[in-house]
């Protein structure tokens, strides 16, 4: 019953002058409820301790273990071997800087992105510790959380045609983050201010609409809707000053 699985894994240690990028094959016997988390740990402990890969929560919550599995970016922790063929190819995520083998540096990329979009609530108010909390409609809170669920795994960026072509593209994850703040009544930024951040080819107008981002998102975020709405909003923001007011009323701007 048990299969022997063959893994072809990308190997390269940029810190080792003797290392050259290559593929290395491993075989391992499949066990029940086996995930790539179990496979990679067993390979490192039983066959090759130099193998580099990242896991953190190993429960689909933190986004650390994104890699390209048989050509498709996804989280390794909830990829079960029984859903895969006998031969499996593992590659590191593209676009992000390689640390070694399957491990990439997503932290630097994401930190730069959220500094660029100033990923925090912009408000002139000051917190008053003696006051009751400001009220919020629960439906709004839930809608914000729906977009806040992104785990920054980088799968959507790795699968994005535009991101592969231009280094400065913000990517679906970043645009989704902007949409989250646009939805949040606590953030006092105006549409114009948002336009300055994402109303460019680095931002929403760079998106080619291939929507691989939504296909590979392990959290099933509604990226297609988010990007569509953002693009519409930003397109109108761009022409807002030129449009006659009757037309604005008509298109509900």
């Amino acid at each position: 019953m048990a299969r022997m699985l063959k893994f072809n894994i990308f190997r390269y240690n940029p810190q080792d002058p003797n290392s050259v990028p290559h593929m290395q094959s491993f075989t391992i016997d499949e066990t029940e409820s086996m995930t790539l988390f179990i496979v990679l740990n067993r390979l490192r402990e039983e066959q090759d301790p130099s193998l580099q890969f990242d896991f953190c929560c190993r429960a689909g919550i933190c986004g650390a273990c994104a890699m390209v599995v048989n050509g498709r970016p996804g989280l390794a922790c909830h990829t079960k071997t029984k859903d895969l063929p006998d031969e499996i190819t593992l590659m590191p995520l593209p676009i992000f800087k390689l640390v070694g083998d399957l491990s990439v540096d997503t932290g630097t990329w994401f930190r730069a992105m959220y500094k660029k979009i100033e990923s925090w609530c912009h408000t002139k108010k000051v917190f008053d510790p003696t006051a009751q909390e400001e009220r919020m409609d629960n439906a709004v809170a839930e809608a914000i959380y729906e977009l806040d669920r992104c785990v920054e795994c980088g799968c959507c960026v790795a699968a994005c045609g535009t991101a592969l072509m231009r280094e400065d593209f913000l990517g679906a994850t970043t645009l989704n983050r902007v949409a989250r703040f646009m939805l949040d009544p606590r953030d006092e930024r105006t549409e114009k201010e948002y336009f300055d951040i994402i109303g460019t080819d680095e931002g929403i107008f760079g998106c080619m609409g291939l929507l691989a981002c939504q296909d590979v998102c392990p959290k099933y975020l509604p990226l297609q809707d988010v990007l569509g709405k953002l693009r519409k909003k930003m397109a109108f923001a761009a022409v807002n000053n030129f449009l006659p007011s009757f037309l604005k009323r008509e298109i509900n701007l």
Binding site: P49, C56, C121, Q132, E133, Y145
Partner: protein, 619 residues
């Protein structure tokens, strides 16, 4: 050698680390946070439940107050908590939650009108007051008199961590991710920073700081089966223990969860049992009613874990390539209930096991879950033993949890204690000048360089690091698992002494170049075995049962002899046992020791019962 200098160095960038960092940055101090992973991947992100604070906005939280929260917390700790800290915690929690709302956490809010809730699997109706519309809502969590757990759907930790990390970025807190502190820089009196290994390049660096905070979470990964993220391997504790002067408080206080799935130890919620799920053995026989006729699967977390272990010890567990387990059966709840009310459970089963819980059994076993003990601090979060060293969150034994932690109190502790300790760190930074001795830095750096060289070249031996770790796993679970007894603990202590000697002879199989992960674990293994030894030795000496610490040979809670806290230090590096000292659990008694809220059991009372002192005043 690359040298960084900062006012505050936070080792760990989860909720506690970042909350302290923000407080310092907000007051104009420079801060660097070190993190093994990008900050937003910290284990804090995995907490789904919520944070307790007595806001009293919801129907089921009506009449709640910090006093009620305080009583729940102290009772939950089995009177092992420091009552002064518990008081600070409950009084600060509502402010901290509101502040998080101000910074952007999308807390669920009160929706006025009739609402359907569940208790013990049965629906009931409550009326949410119109005047509370839009205030922070709260839900139920085990062991509390009122519903007071603030939450954001099923991702509280994630939502709060992202908001906090945003705020940290806004305040100019620097996060150096993929870095690991492997030793503290100190002279036996003052902490002056840390020696750090870059996990992107393998390069060794020195960080000099006027104040240093350990906020590295729990040390669950000294157990093989743990719900903790793989990064929770006690790195901060090891650095503290290695100083020889900073004690671990109550290392033996470890909480287990009954239903981690096998093989990956991800939790399925206790709601499964609450809703009517049953536990079955290898013969698919429901065994819990035999042990607990009244409550069966609904007995407390600890009791269920104990009974499951007891049953598996009788050989009635299910054999698997990953060890023995039992079955959780929720099939009889029906497809509709499972796909709506237990949707997360269904998703976990399908995503990680490939099991459909509507038609199939779920493999489960009790799993290490939370470390109540940690770096012992005073109520300001200042570590014992070294000036300028602080600790907060699960890493610390600030000690509001005592010997058992209430659900929802741990996640809240990260930001509540973070806020309080942050204030104290600011006071320290404002009022103290630290003299940095570069000689200490050079010594510490050289020592780590030598260690790395020895590991790569196998100078001390060629022990396989994973073999040593597996030996530690087997040993700690046998002695300091859910049930503990003198004989097994003594055996574990003896074995761990031998394993420690082996850990000192580890040599790498790979070349150790760059961000080599075998080197990372090799640098840590000796410390991990020391931590395991602290757990086992402290558990051996504690001849009573309190909270999660259950001694089969001493079933009573013994307030006469053991109403105290273990302080474990590693006096000399070559020792194979820690040095144990003790201090009173609390110097302030708002509530004198009383009945335990769970598990029943006999109590040996104190000879002279303490008098209750009013709120927060020293006796």
């Amino acid at each position: 050698m690359q040298i960084f200098q900062t006012d505050l160095l936070c080792i760990g960038a989860g909720l506690a680390g970042e909350r302290v960092a923000i407080e310092a940055a907000d007051n104009g101090f420079s801060v660097i946070c070190l993190s093994l992973v990008p900050a937003r991947r910290s284990h804090s992100s995995a907490a789904q439940g919520g944070m307790q604070a007595a806001l009293g906005n919801s129907a089921m939280g009506e009449g709640d107050s910090p006093d009620v929260h305080f009583a729940d917390t102290v009772k939950g700790s089995d009177w092992g908590a420091d009552q002064e800290c518990a008081r600070i915690f409950v009084d600060t929690a509502p402010i901290a939650m509101r502040q998080m709302a101000f910074w952007g956490v999308p807390w669920n809010r009160v929706v006025p009108g009739e609402a359907t809730y569940y208790k013990g699997g049965k629906p009931f109706t409550a009326f949410e007051k119109p005047e509370n519309e839009g205030l922070i809502h709260s839900r139920s969590f085990g062991g509390t008199a009122k519903w007071r757990t603030c939450y954001t759907s099923d991702g509280t930790g994630h939502a709060v961590l992202y908001t906090l990390d945003n705020r940290a970025a806004q305040m100019g807190v620097e996060v150096h991710d993929k870095t690991e502190a492997i030793a503290l820089i100190h002279d036996g009196e003052t902490c002056m920073g840390a020696i750090v290994r870059c996990l992107k390049t393998g390069e060794l660096r020195a960080y000099l700081s006027r104040a240093t905070l350990i906020a590295t979470g729990g040390y669950g990964r000294i157990y093989r089966e743990s719900t903790n993220a793989v990064i929770c391997d006690g790195g901060g504790h090891i650095a503290a223990l290695d100083t020889g002067v900073v004690p671990m408080g109550n290392p033996e206080a470890i909480q287990f969860h009954p239903t981690g799935i096998v093989p990956t130890d991800i939790l399925v919620t206790e709601g499964c049992r609450g809703d009517g799920g049953t536990l079955l053995d290898v013969n698919q026989y429901r065994f819990m009613p035999d042990y607990e006729p009244d409550k069966a699967e609904l007995a407390s977390r600890d009791v269920v874990s104990r009974r499951m272990t007891e049953h598996m010890r009788k050989g009635l567990g299910v054999k698997s390539p990953y060890g023995d387990h039992l079955w959780l059966d929720i099939r009889h709840l029906g497809e509709k209930h499972i796909t709506t009310k237990l949707r997360e459970v269904q998703e976990i089963c399908e995503s990680f096991l490939g099991v459909d819980p509507v038609h199939q059994l779920i493999p489960v076993r009790p799993t290490q879950h939370y470390s109540m003990g940690g770096v012992r601090t005073n109520k300001d979060g200042a570590a014992y033993g070294l000036k300028g060293l602080y600790s907060a969150g699960e890493a610390a034994c600030w000690d509001m949890h005592g010997f058992n932690r209430l659900g929802g109190n741990s996640l809240a502790e990260t930001i509540v204690a973070g806020m309080h300790v942050g204030g104290k760190v600011v006071e320290f930074l404002s009022g103290t000048e630290t003299v940095i001795k570069t000689e200490c830095m050079r010594d510490a750096y050289r020592k780590q360089e030598d260690r790395i060289r020895a590991l790569i070249h196998g100078t001390n031996g060629r022990e396989n690091v994973y073999a040593v770790r597996n030996a530690m796993f087997d040993t700690i679970m046998k002695g300091a698992g859910i049930f503990r007894n003198g004989a097994d603990l003594q055996e574990s202590v003896d074995k761990l002494s031998e394993i420690l000697v082996r850990a000192r002879k580890v040599g790498l199989k790979s070349n150790g170049l760059g961000a080599n992960q075998e080197l990372a674990i090799a640098l840590k293994i000796e410390g991990m075995v020391k931590l395991a030894q602290c757990v086992c030795y402290a558990a051996l000496k504690r001849t009573e049962s309190r909270g999660a610490h259950t001694r089969e040979d001493f079933p009573e809670r013994n307030d006469r002899d053991w109403l105290n806290r273990t302080l474990a230090t590693w006096a000399k590096p070559e020792d194979v046992l820690p040095t144990l000292n003790y201090e009173p659990s609390t110097t302030v008694f708002e509530i004198p020791p009383g009945e335990r809220g769970y598990g029943g059991g006999k109590i040996i009372p104190m000879d002279t019962p303490p008098k209750a002192t009013p709120k927060g005043k020293k006796a």
